[in-house]
Amino acid sequence: MASAESVAGVPETGVPALGGAIDRRLLEELWRESNAAGWGLARHEFDRIVLDVGTAQNYRFEASAAATHRQQAEFFRGLRVDDLILARACAAGNERAWEHFIARHRQPLIRAAVAITGSETLGRELADQLYAELFGLNMREGERRCPLLSYRGRGSLMGWLRTTLAQRHVDHHRRSRHEEPLEEIDAPAAGIDPGTPAAELSALERATEEALRERNSEDRFLLAAYYLDGQTLLQIARVLGVHEATVSRKLKRATHDTRRQVLRNLQRGGLSRRAAEEALGADPRDLDMNLKKLLQSSQAKTFKEQAAL
């Protein structure tokens, strides 16, 4: 393979690209794929944006690691480069980029907002608010902050806009109704049936908690989305990108396995099989409510909002 010249002018191939050097051929390829010239972005602006994106994330490597040109190429091929370049150009205040953004995303943005809110008026209002934010009217610490800077090219720009709209709408809905966070607004479990022995219910709750903890994330998501949120199989299937029948099958299996695991846990706690079945079948609503509490009380601590760059 012939040596390639990096952006810094140093021929490099297969070696760590320290200092933000990017293969020129990769840049050329990304330039063609992004079609940025079609809406008037200058080449040097494109190169600058690509370099900023790569160095800001260090190509998804640790800060001390250096990505080779191949790794750089893999990094950029995993991104929606055209959307990413447009978003960064808009965030930088490029007028041509904004013209292209408006022509391409303005109407879909409004339609998405209308679909999310279920109202033409509310939808347009929500879209206008987000549009104002995107245009950089909000100031943070004296600087104009554009939410488009938080877009890093994972997924489509339109998908990001829809999700942002949905997020704004949910947050606005919760604030306007003075509701508690969704984790806490779900109806609490019904009061314990006084006729049911407390010890038995306590054992049932522990067994259920253990059973849910042993379920994988997908099963718990299915149980929560179906039983807690009341989503349909079709809605869940579209979120997961699988067929509706697959969701049905998985949900049925998750329910069956969870129940069997709860029984097993109850037996492990000292109950006979018959007593465990009676405890499980005595008042299913208790188990149902406990399931809701258990599902909602588990916290995922792996995500942190990354500050917009």
Binding site: I116, T164, P181, A225
Partner: protein, 396 residues
Amino acid sequence: MSATTQHEFHPDPEMLSAFAEQALNERERDEVLEHLAACGRCRQVVALAREAADAEAVQKVVVQPRVWWRSWGLALAPAAVAVTAVAAIYVHVRKTERNAQVAKLEQQRTDEKAPTPPPAAPARPVKPTASESKSDRAGDRQGEREREVRESRQAQEDFVDRFEVEGRRIHTAGEERERDRALESPAPAPPGSEPETDDRTPPEVAMHDEEWRKEAKEAEEERHLYAAEATAPSNLHGSEGGATEANHPVDLSAQQVETRPAPELSPGSLIRLRAGTFSPALTAGSIHLPSGLRAISIAHEGPRMLAIDEAGALFLSENSGTNWETVTTQWTGRAVMVRKDAAANLAAAAPTAAKSEPSRDTSGSGEVSETGTVFALTNDQGQVWWSADGRIWNAK
């Protein structure tokens, strides 16, 4: 948990969007799924964003060009027009042919009824020899007679064919007049009752009814002549006139036996009518007369049948055409048509018939037939003779 704290633990919109678009690797997907299993807010965000994406996709589908098979609708329209045009042309041609046949039939009937014009003054022919002149005149008469016979037979067959189509009961050419009269002057209906027609009558039948009414008008003239000569009481009651001693009042509905109303048309009834009405013995072409010639006109009353052959000779049968006897010629010219007339006209013929011989009707009682039917014979000059028994004929 404060809002700030919550915000720190939620995946950003890009991650949620990428999750919904299946753009995350397995590790990232599991992390997001783990969060979604516990976070109702993010599940709601993802669900709403997904619904918006589906709505957008539906809108794109709506504005997509039509599928290929729908474009065939444009090609089906000319095809439908072409089929309609062909059907219209076919109907028009059939109608034209039928009108031509009706016109031809009318012309033939007019020719039959019109008195034979006096022969035009022939141009002075070259005087032939005596033998040649005689043979030529005989040949001319024979040819003319054959032509008339053919025309007359064709007219009767056309009538039979027409009435077969209508499902009506036509036995002989002589009964056509009776049917025409029934159409022209139907039986008196009870007060307040609607004349029975036409709601159930197909349009085609109604059209032919118009034709029959035209023909019935012609027959009406003859009927008036009959009525003028008939005696009033017998006409009023439709009795058998002088044919019998007892003057039994006969209700007018008795006449309806002869001219019963057209039955409701249905495929099944049409087939039954055709099968039951047109027996082989009643069609002119299937009668074998002693002269060996074909019958050109027939009429019957019960088993009594009258038939005129192509030569103009009249034959009588008392057993539905099994045996025939020749009727002595009592009229001038050549007989071309025999028909059956209703009882209203019986008075004109009954006295003579009663004086001469009691008619031998179906029952053998020696009376004129109970329906009061007489036969009418028309010669080639349009003159009419009547008979109650088919043997004795009197000029009208």
